[in-house]
């Protein structure tokens, strides 16, 4: 036995390190997902509220309520429901949403790209703003950007995203008329491109439909800006702390004394500040999936967050479970990527 294990160990170590990291992380995903599925299933059932009563309204009679419960499978015991659910989920069937009448998988496939597109661009802009401001304010300490970023850093932690969103709509759509109407991912009179990735900006380019591309980028502008304005503050502050410590550290002083150019020194300093930045970006990315809900609602985005809130309010069990599964999968993937990047960025760290 021990020999066999020892042999396995030899094979394992023979695999290149990045592959080893990725494989071991991916294997962990399976039990994690199953755990998430079980916990959410049980937690969702423990929520108060009865969808049958809410829906039937005037039509509620003992007979219609019973028929409705049977349709949803609510008449079975909890364990029977769970076994059915897992069995169906393995076949890619997450049930039918009570409040959209679509299979939950269809709903999620439509809404997840909407949210992902929004938060991906928002994250890119957040990183761009946050890191750029941080570096400039450290390198040119006491300068205009430094002082400005301090004020912004304070404000960004305090202003709520829905408020920023409403203000942007008010000025850029209502008063100035520069921004497109704040509802949906694409203009009402422009048909969305055929789905390839689900990102309208990418799909429209693939389809060669420039009209759809400009329309969808236009619609993205305000919500992406909202999310970036609110979230870049935190990233900026953290990058600034990390980067300024490193920028003033002994090895940078040594590099400078050795006559390396300022550009190289900044790059090396940034390179050494990466691990915490990666962590925070990963965290924010996962966090935004659910936290973008207010921005989604304001801009009528039709994304995952809105779906989740509606399903909680309406006790739409299949939809809610579907959302939690997708969110969990997404966060696990993001964290896995973060861990992998982290290990690659800093070989001393074993996650």
């Amino acid at each position: 036995m021990t020999v066999a294990f020892a042999n396995l160990g030899v094979y394992w170590r023979a695999i290149p390190r990045p592959l080893r990291i990725i494989t071991s992380r991916l294997v962990m995903l399976v039990p994690q997902m199953f755990g998430v599925m079980m916990v959410t299933f049980l937690l969702v059932r423990m929520l108060p509220g009865d969808p049958a009563l809410l829906l039937l309204g005037n039509m509620a009679t003992p007979e219609t309520i019973a028929a409705f419960r049977e349709k949803l499978g609510l008449n079975l015991s909890l364990w029977e429901q769970f076994v059915h659910y897992v069995g169906n989920a393995l076949h890619g069937d997450l049930g039918v949403s009570i409040f959209t009448s679509n299979p939950v998988v269809t709903d999620l496939l439509e809404r997840a790209p909407a949210t992902l597109e929004l938060i991906t661009y928002a994250m890119l802009l957040t990183i761009l703003i946050g890191v750029t401001l941080a570096i400039i304010s450290v390198v040119k300490a006491g300068g205009f950007v430094d002082i400005g970023s301090r004020v912004y850093g304070l404000a960004a932690g305090a202003i709520p995203d829905f408020w920023v969103g409403l203000l942007l709509i008010y000025f850029f759509f209502y008063i100035l008329g520069w921004a497109p109407a704040p509802f949906g991912r694409i203009d009402t009179f422009v048909s969305p491109p055929d789905t390839v990735t689900g990102f309208y900006t990418i799909d429209s380019l693939i389809a060669g439909d420039l009209n759809a591309f400009f329309s969808s980028v236009g619609r993205l502008t305000l919500p992406v800006l909202t999310l970036a304005i609110v979230n870049a503050g935190a990233l900026m502050k953290m990058t600034k702390t990390t980067f300024s410590d490193i920028y003033r550290s002994d090895f940078i002083r040594h590099a400078r004394a050795s006559g390396l150019s300022e550009g190289t020194i900044r790059r090396v300093a940034l390179r050494n500040s990466l691990p915490p930045i990666i962590t925070l970006v990963g965290f924010m990315f996962g966090f935004l999936l659910g936290a973008a809900v207010l921005v989604e609602t304001i801009f009528a985005w039709g994304g995952l967050g809105q779906y989740a809130v509606q399903s909680v309010v309406n006790s739409d069990y299949p939809a809610l479970q579907g959302f939690v599964l997708v969110a969990a999968a997404f966060i696990l993937i993001v964290y896995t990527v973060v861990d992998i990047l982290y290990e690659l960025a800093d070989p001393r760290i074993r996650v």
């Binding site: 108060p48 509220g49 829906l55 309204g57 005037n58 509620a60 007979e63 219609t64 409705f68 409040f99 959209t100 009448s101 679509n102 439509e110 809404r111 761009l128 759509f173 209502y174 520069w178 921004a179 497109p180 509802f183 991912r185 203009d187 009402t188 009179f189 009209n211 400009f214 329309s215 236009g218 502008t221 979230n231 935190a234 953290m238 410590d245 490193i246 550290s249 150019s261 550009g263 190289t264 090396v268 050494n272 500040s273 691990p275 925070l280 924010m284 966090f287 936290a291 809900v293 207010l294 609602t297 304001i298 009528a300 039709g302 909680v312 309010v313 690659l344 960025a345 800093d346 070989p347």
Partner: protein
């Protein structure tokens, strides 16, 4: 239901994560170096150059894209024919397209526009220029003629010939019979009307095809509603030829197909159903009243009501549904926007649990009604878009009377009544309302301070909709807000829903033997004057017994651009796009 807003969720990064300790000495990464092209060491001038340009290029590209598209995105929006396309901003898209799905406001709108029924009311123009249903005059729709037997136990429909669905399939007795059969077997809305109102027990004895264009429905007992029920928007006729193509062994009534597709004889069919985003209605060129003037209606979901206001003001949409009274007052003054107001059939009240103390006492219930500052509510919550509810029957329905309403704002009288009931010092209780319902929240706060004047200490409970419904169904909350409408314009039908102690939705547990008996007889009797007299008596008893705290008729309002003409109102409160046109 209210859809306007959602709770505030947590935001931004928890503070402990903002400061992550950082290694303060350098480390080089082999992994990183390896990824660079051979011959270029990290930090060499060339690698450095490559990286900065990428970052700069990306930044410049992004900025350019953002600036360009903000301007470009707005151009070309109204390229299509603006006169025949209507854009509607709605709080939410319908939950299902199937008329057997439980009735909701968004669902009723689909039914109004997609399905056609056997009978209808004639239209009449009100003094306000709005088209209403004339509840006294029934007209044929898909049934050209109909006959009711003298004993009012059977009705025979003679179907209009040559009526076609959007797909070109013709209406005949078979399509009607199959629609009935599906409704019966789906055990939902159709089944509810047939069993609860008509007391039908067996399908085959009740529904008969007489010939290819004639269908007969026979009831076990006489019913005063034998004609009116067929006008209900839940009882549309399906294009069975199309629907039958989508039957499967697991789904013999095409429940899943009809949930997201339409096939019927109404003025529109739905060509695109994207829940949470939009619904596209396209005109049925074969509609029997003629092709609709609006060829396409695009309904966009916009959950934030402030944005619906901004969109209709800016002209990005033609119609904004379900705005708050405050917003209506604002938008009414805007140029180019018109607000249509109907005092329809909604009744907004606080129901009390009549089965449990202290609300088992009539005097306590009356006392609370005397404590409501209705004028103040009307002004500060409803901005004068509502009216007082003075009866349990909707004011627009035949048989309504406000003659028994005596509840002025009279705290002294309320205190006296409470003292008589044995609560001279008042009592503690709870009042529940829906999360996200701004109007109910505002009213709850006003009621709390108003009730406190007589020592009634109210704890406010804010609950998610499904939790609230579950709890009042089980009788677990002493007081809760309730806003509802009954779509059949018949006083006995309405009273039966809310006031009959046998009704499953009489959640206030109101029980009066005389009311029960009057309602039961009115549901069977065909003597119309006596029915109306009995319903007057029911209103009198109800107002005296005060099972609810009577509040407001919030009405139904629709904000449109001024060039949208022909607004009409129907009892389910959904908009009828067929009646609308654009100038």
């Amino acid at each position: 239901m209210s859809y306007t807003s959602i709770g505030q969720t947590g935001r931004a990064v928890p503070s402990h994560l903002k400061e992550i300790s950082v290694p303060t000495f350098p480390h080089t990464s082999n992994g990183m170096t390896r990824r660079l092209p051979r011959g270029i060491a990290a930090g060499s001038p060339r690698a450095n150059w490559r990286r900065t340009t990428t970052v700069k290029g990306l930044f410049a590209g992004l900025v350019a894209a953002f600036m360009a598209t903000t301007v470009l995105g707005t151009v070309g929006a109204f390229a299509q024919d603006a006169k025949t396309t209507l854009v509607v901003a709605a709080p939410r898209t319908p939950e299902s397209l199937d008329q057997e799905y439980p009735p909701t406001e968004a669902g009723h709108e689909v039914r109004r526009n997609v399905f056609e029924r056997l009978l209808t009311y004639k239209q009449k123009k009100g003094d306000d220029g709005i088209f209403y249903e004339d509840f006294d005059t029934i007209d044929g729709a898909l049934a050209e003629k109909w006959e009711v037997s003298d004993d009012r136990k059977s009705i025979t429909f003679h179907l209009r010939k040559g009526v076609k669905s959007a797909l070109g399939n013709e209406l005949n007795a078979d399509t009607v019979m199959w629609s009935f059969l599906r409704g019966w077997n789906m055990k939902s809305n159709f089944h509810w009307y047939m069993t609860q109102i008509f007391k039908i027990e067996d399908f085959d004895t009740a529904f008969q095809k007489v010939d290819d264009y004639t269908v007969k429905v026979t009831l076990p007992n006489a019913s005063p509603l034998i004609e009116r029920i067929w006008i209900n928007s839940d009882l549309g006729i399906l294009d069975s030829v199309e629907v039958k193509k989508h039957l499967t062994d697991a789904d013999p009534w095409a429940a899943s197909w009809l949930a997201t597709n339409t096939a019927a004889f109404g003025p529109y069919f739905i060509s695109r159903y994207k829940p949470g985003q939009e619904v596209v209605y396209d005109a049925n060129p074969n509609y029997f009243r003629g092709e609709p003037k609006l060829k396409r209606v695009i309904l966009r979901e916009m959950p934030t009501s402030a944005n619906r206001v901004a969109a209709v003001q800016a002209g990005s949409v033609d119609v904004a549904e379900y705005l708050l009274p405050r917003e209506l007052a604002l938008v009414e003054k805007a140029p180019g926007v018109e607000v249509h107001k109907v005092f329809g059939n909604f009744i907004h009240r606080v129901e009390m649990n009549n089965a449990k103390p202290p609300f088992d006492s009539v005097k306590v219930r009356q006392a609370l009604n005397y404590l409501v500052p209705r004028d103040e509510m009307l002004k500060s919550v409803y901005f004068d878009t509502a009216r007082f509810t003075k009866s349990p029957i909707s004011e627009i329905y035949p048989g309504f009377t406000d003659g028994f309403f005596a509840y002025s704002n009279d705290p002294a009288k309320a205190k006296a009544l409470l003292a008589e009931a044995g609560f001279p010092e008042g009592f503690k209780t709870q009042l529940a309302y829906r999360t996200g319902d701004q109007l109910e929240e505002e009213m709850a706060v006003i009621l709390k301070s108003a009730f406190a004047k007589a020592g009634v200490d109210v704890e406010l409970l804010k609950l998610p909709a499904s939790t609230l419904v579950e709890r009042y169904t089980k009788g677990e909350v002493p007081m809760y807000f309730f806003r509802d409408m009954a779509i059949v314009p018949d006083a006995a039908y309405v009273a039966n829903l809310w006031l009959n102690s046998a009704s499953a939705i009489n959640y206030s547990k109101f029980k009066s033997d005389e009311v029960d008996q009057l309602i039961d007889s009115a549901l069977k009797s065909t003597d119309e004057p006596k029915r109306l007299a009995d319903m007057k008596r029911v209103q009198q008893i109800t107002m005296e017994q005060a099972p609810w705290v009577f509040l407001m008729n919030p009405g139904y309002q629709l904000a449109t651009r001024s060039n949208v003409k022909g607004y009409s109102w129907y009892t389910p409160n959904g908009n009828a796009f067929f009646d609308l046109s654009k100038e």
